[in-house]
């Protein structure tokens, strides 16, 4: 419970904390003590990492994820353009073979602005809530949101330029996302307009794909340029209220990235690729309080850490079903 609350606090912007000495299980203590000595194994891991860097393998989870993301958005496009009517509407609200679906944040904006609880919308919101609770909340971000995909490309460009020392990352205070969430909720209520929708790159891109491009794409381009040249992944990390909403939904989800202390050698390869590296604080030497832990609520279950980990200490798992696809 404490661990869960801590994960929500980190989601809201708190910095991960070093656990108190009393928080560690005996097993974890023993594991932390043991690994100091295993120099051979560590050397072996380093060789493995170098080998991996020299022979880049395609990232399995990223491939799967991009495939799903493209297919979902394609289904939206084809449902309209080819009139196959499977998934009608856009990411803000839709019908999937007749069933109402409503994006939680869009529905919240509408109800706050309109100041009425809309029954139809509640049905769609409930469906989506259960769906994304089951599938891990922010899983929406990395597996469905079209902005996430283009932001990943922008991230590649940023990383490339950073290696060439042309750009440097300027991080923001992560608490600002919670402030944004509150301000946008307040603005919807006070102004009576769905203010956030005006600048939501998720909605803009989804509609642009389905109904054709527009000026909104200029805004999306500005966001991407900002992320390439100034602050890496700035929108998803520090701004998007949609992500925060889904993060809260997914805090108690059965779908998790799990961490195994016994096999981890604290190389932090995972943190290098992570969109939200604060959720991987337990991989830091001496931080894991138990031998097995799950990664917290801000995790988008993108699986990049799973691919990056040289010792397979991170895995996507569904509680009760076990490990998902190797």
């Amino acid at each position: 419970m404490n661990y869960l609350l801590r994960s929500v606090a980190v989601l809201l912007g708190a910095d991960p904390k070093k656990p108190a000495p009393g928080d560690y299980s005996e097993e974890a203590k023993a594991l932390h003590a043991l690994q100091k000595g295993d120099r051979n194994r560590i050397e072996q891991i380093h060789i493995e990492i170098e080998h991996k860097a020299a022979h880049k393998q395609p990232e399995k989870w990223r491939r799967r994820r991009w495939t799903v993301l493209v297919l979902v958005n394609l289904l939206f496009v084809l449902s309209y353009q080819l009139d196959i009517q499977m998934l009608e509407g856009a990411l803000t609200a839709s019908r999937f073979i007749g069933f109402h679906m409503a994006d939680l944040n869009s529905a919240l904006q509408v109800m706050l602005a309109y100041k009425q609880v809309l029954i139809n919308l509640m049905i769609g919101t409930g469906t989506v809530l259960v769906f994304w609770w089951l599938l891990g909340g922010r899983t929406f971000c990395s597996w469905v949101c079209p902005y996430h995909l283009v932001a990943e490309w922008a991230e590649m460009a940023h990383d490339y330029l950073a290696r060439k020392k042309i750009v440097t990352d300027h991080p923001f205070d992560r608490r600002v996302r919670t402030v944004f969430w509150l301000i946008f909720a307040l603005l919807a209520f006070v102004t009576g307009y769905t203010v956030f929708e005006t600048i939501s790159p998720t909605g803009i891109l989804s509609r642009a794909l389905i109904y054709g491009p527009g000026l909104g794409l200029l805004w999306v381009a500005i966001l991407l340029l900002f992320e390439i040249f100034y602050s890496k992944r700035a929108w998803c990390r520090y701004a998007c209220p949609i992500g925060l909403t889904y993060g809260l939904v997914g805090a108690t989800s059965p779908l998790k990235v799990t961490y195994n202390l016994a096999t981890c050698f604290h190389e932090a390869e995972c943190k290098k690729v992570c969109e939200v590296p604060h959720v991987l604080d337990m991989v830091v030497k001496g931080r894991a309080t138990r031998s097995d832990l799950f990664v917290g609520a801000d995790c988008t279950h993108c699986g990049r850490c799973v691919d990056a980990c040289p010792t397979n200490s991170l895995n996507l798992e569904f509680k009760g079903l076990g490990r998902l696809l190797k």
Binding site: S79, Y80, E88, G89, A90, T92, A93, S94, R95, H100, A102, D103, S106, A107, V110, A113, Y114, K115, Q116, L118, N120, L121, G124, H170, P171, F172, D173, V176, V179, F180, I183, F184, L187, T191, G192, Y193, T194, V195, F196, E197, T198, I199, G203, I204, R207, I210, Y211, G214, L215, G216, L218, W219, S231, A234, Y238, A239
Partner: protein, 271 residues
Amino acid sequence: MATQKKSARINRNERRRFLRTLVYGAGIIGASLLGFVPVLARWKQRVRPPGALKEQDFLASCIKCGQCVQVCPVSAIHLADMDEGFGIGSPFIDTRNQACDFSCDGLQCVLACPTGALTHEINYPAETDMGVARVVGEQRCLAVMGRGFSGQARGASFTGRLRYDEVDRWNPIPVRDHPYDLELCDLCVRQCPIEIRIAQCEAGKPPSGDRNQCPPRHAIRLDAIASDDGLTHRRPVILDGCVGCGVCDMICPADPGVFVIDSSRSREVAA
């Protein structure tokens, strides 16, 4: 000494990060609030789809998903772009290019709307209130000039469609595929979906056999104008049964058209 320097640097970095975050926050919120400008300045007055609530309520309750766009049989509905601020992604009808001719009879857009921004309280075309037509170019009106019309109402390149019951009850066809030959132009009255329904009801054949489809009031008629040139002259007059569907605007062969659609007064005043 060294640790003091280090902590001073950390403090300075944190302060910078804090200030940077403030600017970032102000920038994003500021950008979103720019959406107020087009709404308050009323840059664009849009004709909304059937059943749209009063403008302020409509923009509040519309979830900007475009499901109404997808079901419209004549593709009359479009989504607003970012230059309409808070109206981004909200549906509108550009009547001159493609009016709502109620070909669906059952108001599909209303049924598709997941939030009730297009109110589910209406069921029939005559109950809608998208706006009201207004005659703005009487001097261009063929009927006023006493002239007839023959040919394609809006020319060969016009892509707008209408449902012609006598051609195909279920499929709207391009207006250019349905040329006219009229002694005195009466296209605005002839094609008015309200007038068509009134005529069908008077002939004992209401749409789908449903008497509820019968409009209670007329929407448009041509009034005779006195003249001494031996020609018949008539002038279009908008009546209180007009629902603002815009078919008169779309079909009018004058260029520019004789009509505009005002978003009706009832939609203007906030609840």
